[in-house]
């Protein structure tokens, strides 16, 4: 066992022999070593989070035809540090009538609900917190805690706008959780497991689930954006309507925690997209060198994060009735149809997968394209009907207006 083939175990064994050399009891030494691992993982994530501030600001600037931060350090790389110093030295205000305990707990829970997720993310073949056999449900559970933190922030601020933001978030969460869970079931059907580690393990040698179920990946991406509360689903913030909603009353580093949580959450969901549909850490040489796998994972997660930012800075916010109609009348039926088709095709051609993988992949892809085509046809027919009722010539207008 060397550092390159199994880095975490190598460090763990080294630490254990050091601790036991000091005369510590083995159980206690294990607890300390595990605790150190947790602290190192969270620290790395928070450092990454600082850099994500720069990434986010730079990317939004490019999408909007600006330069973005470019004064502090090369390419403005050190810009996050003045940002953080500013946040830390700002006056900490608690509004009158706020529920102090809940008000202070909400930002911590908001960032915590994102950090919880990393307990079961397989960063590489041998670098992961824990191999949880219900990891996908755990993802949904952590999302529920995030929603709870938004409600707590909205209610405890004693502000109407904040409360409205919290209400909107609950409406969005309750509706988009359904297609999200169903989209999560597609990789489960394909891999036969709810564990993130197994899901990324079975996607070796380019057998990404994206090729088997591209529609599933798109569904998951849309639901992830809604879960994140990012544009076009950022009604819980809605700065033009409810002046940034649930965190309106937060100042300084308390707001900073919400902001850091939001950025890290987006990066995390980029990571989930890569694990569930793009093979996670899989790549050439990643099996033998886990650190290379971690590199592939971060690159894929960044691409996922970039996709989420691309959507955020391109699409304007949609109206709440449109959002709910989009979810209940389009996403939910489509995701259920996708799940049924995927499950039936997978169980029919499961035997084939072992002998002739490429034919199996072709069948799955074709069934996906068929579902997509039928969806487009149904949508086209329903839009045509709507247009006909809107454009039906009334007697008054048909004489004066030219017909197209």
């Amino acid at each position: 066992m060397s550092f390159l083939s199994d880095p975490i175990n190598w460090i763990f064994t080294g630490l254990m022999s050091t601790f036991q050399g000091w005369g510590l009891n083995p159980t206690f030494a294990t607890v300390i070593a595990d605790l150190l691992g947790v602290i190192v993982l969270i620290t790395l994530l928070m450092v990454l989070d600082i850099m994500l501030v720069w990434v986010e600001r730079k990317v939004v600037a490019r999408f909007q035809g600006r330069l973005g931060p470019n004064r502090v350090g090369p390419f403005g790389l050190f810009q996050p540090f003045p940002d953080i110093i500013k946040l830390v030295i700002k006056e900490d205000i608690t509004p009158n009538g706020a529920d102090r305990f809940v008000y202070n707990l909400a930002p911590i829970l908001s960032l915590g609900s994102v950090l919880f997720l990393w307990a079961m993310v397989p960063i590489a073949s041998k670098i992961y917190g824990t191999d949880l056999n219900v990891a996908l449900l755990y993802l949904v559970a952590a999302g529920a805690l995030g929603t709870l933190s938004i409600i707590m922030a909205g209610w405890s601020s004693n502000n109407k706008y904040a409360l409205l933001g919290a209400f909107r978030q609950v409406a969005a969460m309750i509706s988009f959780e359904i297609p999200m869970v169903v989209a999560l079931l597609i990789p489960t059907v394909l891999s036969g497991s709810l564990s993130m580690k197994v899901i990324s393990d079975v996607q070796g040698s380019g057998r990404w689930f994206f090729f088997l179920s591209p529609l599933g990946a798109v569904l998951f991406l849309i639901c992830a954006i809604a879960e994140l509360g990012r544009s076009p689903f950022d009604l819980n913030e809605g700065e033009s309507e409810i002046v940034s909603g649930y965190h309106i009353e937060y100042t300084g580093m308390k707001f900073g925690l919400f902001y850091a949580g939001e950025l890290l959450h987006a990066f995390t969901f980029g990571g989930f997209l890569s694990i569930l549909f793009f093979g996670g850490w899989q790549g050439p040489g990643a099996d033998t060198y886990p650190l290379l796998g971690a590199f592939y994972f971060v690159v894929k997660a960044m691409i996922g994060y970039w996709l989420i930012m691309w959507v955020k800075y391109t699409v304007p916010r949609i109206r709440i009735d449109h959002m709910l109609a989009f979810n209940w009348k389009f996403l939910t039926p489509l995701s259920f149809a996708m799940l049924i088709v995927t499950a039936v095709m997978h169980s029919l051609f499961q035997e084939l997968m072992k002998t002739n993988y490429w034919f199996y992949a072709l069948v799955m892809l074709a069934s996906n394209l068929l579902v997509g085509w039928v969806t487009l046809e149904i949508m086209r027919a329903s839009t045509r009907r709507q247009r006909q009722t809107v454009e039906a010539p009334s007697d008054l207008l048909s004489k004066s207006w030219p017909q197209h």
Partner: protein, 172 residues
């Protein structure tokens, strides 16, 4: 003392303390938040008992759906979310007596039961095995597929019923 015993004592203390707060706090939203702490403690107990699936489902269903529904309903229905009246009525000694008797009865029954002193039997297949067995049991015709489907039809009926009640009837 085993690590699982320490976790059990901590989470049991959390459950009891927060359950007491649920019924004794005067602020309804605080009661709902304490209820969430209670439910979270129960989820920890499930995790200690190697029922990871139940633990996560406890968080998803009870905290993610039911408790948030409670908070939502409380926010929508009452403007003044503070309870003003007395917290106990004249029957409280009777209730306390009944509670003590129930506790005592349970204590006597459980102290006679030898299952408490036994170690749990090893689960075949480990944690993955239980999850698989649960899934097979819920969908196998020999086991629980009928109750499972009946429960889902019941929920569907409730769903359709609520849509019917809330629907805007034409012409009215």
């Amino acid at each position: 003392m085993d690590a699982s015993v320490v976790i059990f004592i901590l989470s049991a203390a959390l459950i009891i303390a927060s359950a007491l707060m649920v019924v004794s706090t005067r602020n309804l939203i605080h009661a709902a938040l304490w209820l969430i702490a209670t439910l979270f403690g129960v989820a920890v107990l499930y995790a200690v008992l190697e029922a990871g699936f139940l633990a996560v489902v406890q968080v998803v269903v009870y905290i993610g759906a039911i408790a948030i529904m409670f908070i939502f309903a409380v926010m929508l229905t009452r403007k003044e979310m503070r309870d003003q009246g007395a917290q106990v009525n004249a029957a409280w000694p009777m209730a306390a007596l009944l509670g003590l008797l129930t506790f005592g009865g349970l204590w006597i029954i459980l102290s006679k039961w030898d299952g408490l002193a036994k170690l749990p039997a090893a689960i075949p297949g480990g944690a993955d095995g239980t999850l698989q067995q649960l899934g097979i049991a819920l969908t196998s015709p020999d086991a629980f597929v009928l109750p499972f489907e009946v429960a889902s039809v019941l929920l569907l009926a409730a769903l359709i019923g609520s849509v019917y009640v809330a629907m805007n009837k034409k012409g009215s």
